[in-house]
Symmetry: C2
Subunit: 351 residues, 2 copies
């Protein structure tokens, strides 16, 4: 049993954290009264309430949330989990994911929740459940569904409070919030077609749900224009710049039979512009490039990126709302948010 340290014991230099019992003693009331006063209960005399509150403030007292939560069986902590690619040992790094994290942080703070941030192996998204199982958090926001649609469905089946940033897939049991990827893909592709481009490459790993959906939009826009999808112009480039660089470079070095590229992230678009120029082609002159995400730096690249804008701030709000909704009993469901095309120099407005 813990030694009960006598607080009046002289020479005990170590300063114990202030707690209610201390306030109570100093105010000459009981702990219950302090608790009530600090929680603004009507049951306690206004004058006493005032006095206790004052005292607590002046002593810089702040409540022990661990104890409070245990007693109230309550917790206002949400786990936000950013997957990383274990094989390539790539870190949280895509600027877009990080923007989303910022937006979620804001949305949570506004609602009085705390955010526990962690990273998880993208192959084991289900390990994110431990945050809830251990009581450290009451729900999970996962940034990206990666290849683990099934794991996510399992988690949802287990009633884990969960929201995923990502695309809406058929037979999806978990709640998701994402941009309208099909629309994004077709907006980007239609714009390139309007510029008169006919040989439009697609860069992105279609094993990822979001990319798969963007590819649908891409294919649809081509069909509308009476064109065929040419599989030779599809490159399964991943999001991690380290891995993607080589893939993009060798593609650009090997083929010259395309006049535009639709990239599934701005980072990819940047790599692509660079690779194209390294092989002597101009952007957008010979090859127009469209990115995806509209990351904070997209407007400051050279050339500034034409890109599909994702509504980051609203996304943060929507993710948090969806999660809190579940926690108050709503049924999880997918949500798709509008996206729009930001025209910049890498694929400028049609002349």
């Amino acid at each position: 049993m813990a030694k009960s340290k006598d607080p009046s014991e002289p020479g005990s230099g170590e300063q114990r954290r202030l707690q209610m019992v201390d306030i109570a003693r100093l105010a000459g009331v009981s702990v219950s009264t302090v608790s009530r006063a600090l929680n603004g209960s009507e049951l306690v005399n206004a004058e006493t309430r005032q006095r206790v509150a004052e005292l607590a403030r002046s002593l810089n007292y702040s409540i022990n949330f661990g104890a409070r939560n245990l007693r109230l069986q309550e917790n206002k902590t949400i786990a936000v989990v950013v997957p990383y690619d274990a094989s390539s040992r790539q870190h949280i790094s895509d600027p877009f994911f990080l923007s989303i994290v910022g937006a979620i942080a804001d949305a949570l703070t506004d609602r009085g929740y705390d955010m526990l941030l962690s990273r998880v192996d993208a192959d084991r998204l289900d390990s994110a459940a431990h945050w809830v199982d251990s009581g450290k958090a009451i729900g999970v926001v996962l940034i990206g569904q990666w290849r683990q649609h099934d794991q996510l469905n399992d988690m949802a089946a287990r009633k884990l409070p969960l929201v995923v940033w990502g695309g809406e897939m058929p037979q999806q049991l978990y709640a998701s919030v994402g941009g309208d990827n099909v629309l994004g893909g077709s907006l980007a592709t239609r714009h390139l077609l309007q510029l008169g481009r006919r040989r439009i490459a697609f860069f992105g790993d279609a094993k990822l749900p979001e990319v798969w959906l963007r590819r649908q939009g891409y294919a649809q826009a081509l069909r509308e224009a009476g064109l065929q999808v040419d599989p030779a112009l599809e490159l399964a480039a991943p999001f991690e710049p380290g891995v993607a660089t080589d893939i993009v470079r060798s593609f650009c070095a090997a083929r010259r039979d395309f006049d535009a590229v639709f990239c599934c992230s701005d980072v990819l678009a940047l790599l692509t512009s660079q690779a194209l120029r390294a092989t002597g082609r101009s952007v957008p002159g010979e090859v127009a490039v469209v990115g995806y995400d509209d990351m904070p730096l997209a407007a400051y690249c050279d050339p500034p990126l034409t890109t599909v804008h994702q509504p980051v701030g609203e996304a943060g709000e929507a993710l948090v709302e969806a999660l809190l909704g579940q926690l108050s009993g709503e049924r999880p469901g997918p949500r798709t948010m509008p996206v729009c095309l930001k025209l910049r120099a890498s694929a400028p407005a049609a002349a």
Copy 2:
């Protein structure tokens, strides 16, 4: 008092979270034994230990950390706090800060600590103390000291476990970890001088300690070359791209009497390249540009940025080590880490 819900009560559909008492009942032992078994105590019979552990695993039990922490007076959560500029309402956004957060997340995870991420008004860095006061975290890592050197000293005086990413300042009571800013400033400037540039502008807000130190390195390198600092070539550009853009643009539009710029962040360097080209100057031909941080995207910009590389991974480790050191009684102190110059096209190696 909480109603004691009889667990054997029939028809109670609501599933309560599994706890030790449940395992104990099913295993036919007492809670203490379960506790001991799960903590691998030698006091419990090996066979029993095995059986209990098995049972817990198969039932997917996980311990309630809130209760455990309350009992053990222990907590393994660290608050990581990213300041934001309240006046401009700018968010966490500088890629470099975000990289550091990622590195800290890794370092904490490796050591079994959790990370609470939050944002704070850069004018009120001291409000970060509430994480510790409330017991939600046992220490604070602050990303950047901004203009609040004094607040930080106050926090340290209050014995708040705290580490700050930033520059080492005179009369500093708090622990800090940072790159060698003076070295960084002089490496960058010397390189530009070697390229034959003589009119080197300095972009950065010298009210921030880190920038102030970089400026010292800059000034020192100029003096070594027998040159004077020209105050007209100093621009107090902030880190927030939104605010900085206009400032940088009007400076570049107004003056043409410089042939190089040393920027205190890569984002600033990007803005500067863009502004220069908008006024018809080539980079690095007419004006060479050096950035700072070596953010993940620096190599993929156009032109790729020559920049002062900060050791992000090591920085994360060092910040965490410094904080944990304080928690085990070490005296806080500053730590400065080496930096180096990464040569790329925006200020290429001398011919």
